[in-house]
Subunit: 884 residues, 2 copies
Amino acid sequence: MKKYVYSFGDGAAEGTVEMRNELGGKGANLAEMCNLALPVPPGFTITTEVCTEFYKNNCEYPNGLKDQVAEALAKVEKTIGAKLGDAENPLLVSVRSGARVSMPGMMDTVLNLGLNDETVEGLAKKSGNERFAWDSYRRFIQMYSDVVLGVEHYLFEEMIDLIKQDAGVELDTELDVSHLKRLTKEFKAKVEEELGKPFPVDPYEQLWGGIAAVFNSWMSNRAISYRKIHEISDGWGTAVNIQSMVFGNMGDTSATGVAFTRNPSTGAKEFYGEYLVNAQGEDVVAGIRTPQSITIRAKQESGSDLPAMEEVMPQVYQQLVDVYKKLEGHYRDMQDIEFTVQNHKLWMLQTRSGKRTAAAAIKISVDMVDEGLITKDEALCRIDPQSLDQLLHPSLDPKAERNIIAKGLPASPGAASGEVVFTAEDAENAAQINKKVILVRIETSPEDISGMHAAQGILTARGGMTSHAAVVARGMGKPCVSGAGMVKIDYKKKSFMVGAQEIKQGDIITINGSTGEVMLGEIPTIQPNLSGDFAKIMDWADEARSLKIRTNAETPLDAETARKFGAEGIGLCRTEHMFFDAERIISMREMILAETEKGRRTALAKLQPMQKQDFVDIFKIMGDFPVTIRLLDPPLHEFLPHSEEEMAEVAEAAGLSVEKVKSRANALKESNPMLGHRGCRLGITYPEIYEMQAKAIFEAAAETGAKPEIMIPLVFGRKELDILKAVIEKAHAEVGQGVEYLLGTMIELPRAALRAGEIAETAEFFSFGTNDLTQTTFGLSRDDSAGFIDDYKAKGIVEHDPFAVLDQDGVGELVEIASERGRATRPEIKLGICGEHGGNPQSIAFCQKIGLDYVSCSPYRVPIARLAAAQAALAEKQGKLKAA
Amino acid sequence: MKKYVYSFGDGAAEGTVEMRNELGGKGANLAEMCNLALPVPPGFTITTEVCTEFYKNNCEYPNGLKDQVAEALAKVEKTIGAKLGDAENPLLVSVRSGARVSMPGMMDTVLNLGLNDETVEGLAKKSGNERFAWDSYRRFIQMYSDVVLGVEHYLFEEMIDLIKQDAGVELDTELDVSHLKRLTKEFKAKVEEELGKPFPVDPYEQLWGGIAAVFNSWMSNRAISYRKIHEISDGWGTAVNIQSMVFGNMGDTSATGVAFTRNPSTGAKEFYGEYLVNAQGEDVVAGIRTPQSITIRAKQESGSDLPAMEEVMPQVYQQLVDVYKKLEGHYRDMQDIEFTVQNHKLWMLQTRSGKRTAAAAIKISVDMVDEGLITKDEALCRIDPQSLDQLLHPSLDPKAERNIIAKGLPASPGAASGEVVFTAEDAENAAQINKKVILVRIETSPEDISGMHAAQGILTARGGMTSHAAVVARGMGKPCVSGAGMVKIDYKKKSFMVGAQEIKQGDIITINGSTGEVMLGEIPTIQPNLSGDFAKIMDWADEARSLKIRTNAETPLDAETARKFGAEGIGLCRTEHMFFDAERIISMREMILAETEKGRRTALAKLQPMQKQDFVDIFKIMGDFPVTIRLLDPPLHEFLPHSEEEMAEVAEAAGLSVEKVKSRANALKESNPMLGHRGCRLGITYPEIYEMQAKAIFEAAAETGAKPEIMIPLVFGRKELDILKAVIEKAHAEVGQGVEYLLGTMIELPRAALRAGEIAETAEFFSFGTNDLTQTTFGLSRDDSAGFIDDYKAKGIVEHDPFAVLDQDGVGELVEIASERGRATRPEIKLGICGEHGGNPQSIAFCQKIGLDYVSCSPYRVPIARLAAAQAALAEKQGKLKAA
């Protein structure tokens, strides 16, 4: 006979913490606490396997389950010295679900199970507290009817309100025994009215009803959706925990509380928690009574008058301190615990690893290494790399009030306030007089770059997490809320509407790029404070990782920021961003409008010294670190103006008719610019552009002693690279004597990945442009997919937005193919990734797995990448150890 | 010592026709004629290897070449009984290039080499014709100076004009010996003036100059470009043929001519050619004298007064007949021959397979099978599948005069005339009163489909060979000229400009979709006549091929046309084209504008019966053949109107404000629609659309007994297919009881190809959508690449437009990967291709190679595909025979 039920309690347990898959998280931890001889109310866990078999066998329980439950229940009854349904000495139990991982959408808890009109009297007698007994009974009917029987909660609330009116009282606690008796009667009548059958009075029927409710909730719509989104297998199933009740609400000798073994906000090594005398667990969080501090220190710090548990129950407190220390020592991590004190006796109801802020995670990890509790490697693995983002940007003062008027996507973290402006120009003008502004656009384009630089933050009405605004803002480390669809912008009126509310240019708003919230007025922010612990963790990460971390940067500011964050080079310097500067855009447009090579060369000659200076600045900042420069990539029409006014301006500057400018702009329009005349295709058609850029690079390198890496975008085979290599070699021969450099290419088209073997005959390095590679592999436009990708996620078609997390199955296979074929041709070829994925921990783990040399990400993601790379390297080491 | 020189003549040769790679086409055929004991002027061939070594070794000849040339020359001198440079009895030779395949851009011919001031006298004496000798001399100087020395041709023409003025004559032939002597003197002086050194008088210097000129011309820009375009390796090199001169211009006993062993226009089995008495080869084609027929029959047919060779030189004629029969019998193919008669003696100068029209190719092949000369398989391989296109469409009467005003791309073959109209609506109105029109658009969109149907032909100013206009026109079998950039259309004025010429609505133009030409006025056309031989070839092809041929068709007319051409099913029925019909577009737009599922369902309910009727019609036409129906694919905005006027119309019909319609149209706009919300992504977001389509299919199938194949477009993994399969199964359960069907998917995204193993768990067939797969694999928009793909071809980056010929290296690898992975999961999976490539012979050969089950192409390409599939199957058989 298979074992379906595991007992625990009385200082021992059949299960252990290792049995999380069978017992669920809660059950495994309850068992473990028993094994540690901690005081846990006795109970038993029905395994997840029962859930799985239940669904396999048409919702029938496996043979033998009933017997095993009966046996385990008998054990509990024996330990407690009470019997389920016994009118004199009733056992009451709680029923809780518990999957491997905590999962919303499932049945939570039924308390006080076992009560009926008879046992309630027994409980009253036994506890000597009639009101307590009847209050427990009415709570049980209410909870069980809602959670197990599906009778809507508000029906009971209405009845409570009515009886309070009758009684002329305001609080539930003011109801006396007679009220409660009446209520239970009315509750039961209501249930019968709603369901057409009476409320179950048989405690065994109640028990199996509770068990069935847990299993049924595993297949609730909410639970299914949650599992889809988080890729949790339906086959895991949930366990059911049945545990004898203990009561914190049996008078002043009883209490209940929750605590953290360290401060979850700051990570400080201090016991931290709240409790309430004469209360049940739910009262602590319900907000009706003010919870009190557990320690005297915390009480003093918060300036509270209410006594601490340390004062009120010094003995039990000491016992609790022993328990928490034992738990933290045993689990070797900060614990989140729940306890109840019943008549001076401490009972532990739950322990689990406590959630914490990024700052706390760092402090706790570092402290625990210092304490000898964990290793540095373990410390590194305890910190979620993504969470570091919280530490690198200003955040809203959590105490400040906020008036949220709209919500978009949390596109670039951090918070900022400023006056609303609607054009890049206005943003720049404001910056010149040191005015803080938020740039509000329907969507941004490369023309807006300087305005984005000048603004404190960016808000867009359209675009997803990887829209232009989002990508650029993240690169700049500026807060950005994108795709706030309810924001209706009217550029002409210089205002936007949110519902009926109009926000005009000059009005102050605050955006929180970490949550996507847009607020009216200025909310105070807190500046980031990168403590010594942060640096320590980063140092350990650098020791552990093998992947190099570079940054995507094209301005001196970005390059400096990235260096400060520990970048070991530039993996992607996009030269086109340099052309949007007001002074340069004129020459750029002149070049585009020229009808002859000669005309283009004239314009390019003006750009060359400026472009050279860009590179000189960057080379100086990056010192001996490698700098990979990508030659012009976007389609030319991105540089042309769109408004009539600007067209006229350009026409005059270029000495052309407005008609001519319009017609050229029109000719450059493309139906699918992403797949159009861009990247190396521009270099093939207008070699003089790449020639100018190469010369600027070589001149800058000659001046600074840098060894640049020149990168050609968007090749689909070797031949394009060969043709452009000749252009670059010619430039090198002319102005770059003595400059050492590498020539490489982006691999960002499926065909380039497939032809990587040939391409590597010419290319000395590959940089995987996984943004474009994702677009082409999926046939999915980054900008256009924002509208339906959420639906795709909700339906489980994609687990993550493939532009946020690298798709290992498809895009990843191409990256692997290209890496293998490239290395087969040229074993020493340098391989890196420079898409948005370069800063995503899961994607970094993939890069480690397939053996890339480096990842490159926006400056503000460099610390995240350093830690993620360390974790990936440690996971690999672990895997190898296991395999060996 | 390596053999670099191969002699021929005197009834024997060192080479054979098999040595085409070493001797070039011309040299190999000259050798072969000698081996057949035909009268060939003796000579020798310098091998292509010399060319290759010449370029390898810094333009130096290999050791031993000079000696071998001297030896071969001595042999010629001995056979002829004359010596190069001998003042009394001079040998004259011709020097010609000759690569493996005929190749423009290379040096063609130098005649009469060996003449100088001394040998010219010897020639005069020997021939007894002083004028002939001096005319030969001045021709030689002129030709050699132009071709070998690079002195521009016009300089000599000017001098001839001057001397004719002096002499008061009009024709060159009227110049007498003294004039010719003066000319040669002046020519030589001119050369010295131009080059700073005298014209070479030493015949050996002349000879080596000629040889060097041939080798140098191999690397001329024109030759290099030609090779790049036609993928001819630079390493092949060219041979040089040196042959003793024979003269057809030595009086009335001499003649020269060219002939085909069968009629190259009709294929009729009749000796067919032209000759001139007392003339050199170039005179026949120069057009100064009217060439005469060789046979009496041809003379009579052409109504000529000039005597036929058969009459004038009956003996030589009979000899020529013997020769041509021997050659055709030997080569087992129609031959194109050149001959010269010198003093009653016949000399053969060249034989090669004759170029022929498609009609002739078919007739000759069928006749030769009947004659027992070749096998059916050989017959099939003799016909260029592409050329069949000529036979399926009306063509311009070759005798008619034409006024070409513009040129675009030959986007869809055939010719048509009609009045110019600029809107689909005008085209439809014209069709209702039986007026013939040419629809002229900047570019077409799906809205124009009905107008394209109504027009005789389509002319667009933008777009490539695979633009919307081109693809749709080819599908309809309508002539189309696309991308005629010089056509400047003004929709408002209803006219277009070509240069300064204005063509107004109502003016008549003619377009030739086979050449891309646009002509003013109506040019008479000739209707296609598919003879019995055509049907015979098609029958043979069907016996030989293993690939099934289906068609892409969505209208009854297309389906019927395709059946007539032998299609064995529909591989791609695009359902969206059915929604552009005037009646339906309203409901379609109503559906798109609806804001709720209910609203959409109301509109879809109106479309369903019409959609069902579409399928009923098509199923009836296709009988037992399979019909693959693709569910809605294009983005919804393609169905919305663009003009203010139309928007207002739609708004009224849908009961919405114009603002609402505009805002919805705006919301649907995408930056890269090709990668946007389309294909199965619509089905995922709006399952009710696919549900309606599935129901229409099942209802139609139930009524007709068809077994439809339902195809889901644009999946990038299995999950989308699973979700939509559920939608289709539900529709089947509701209205399709008893209907058998297959569910499959397009493989048109790189990720789908990579995940084919999983996708095949659900999909029962794959259809490779190689248009989209090419776009995404290359990251290249079909529409936008038109502007630079020619440059890419010219630079050798792509051999062909990848939208015309399947890219086997990249796209092909993905197709292979998907086929393998799909078959691994589901061995019986049906695999086909339905992109434009389905009608391209090279791509069809690839489909055969990787073992697809069928190809699907537009109706007018079905015969081409049948023949190409037969050739591919035969090539495979051949390959297997060789391997065995």
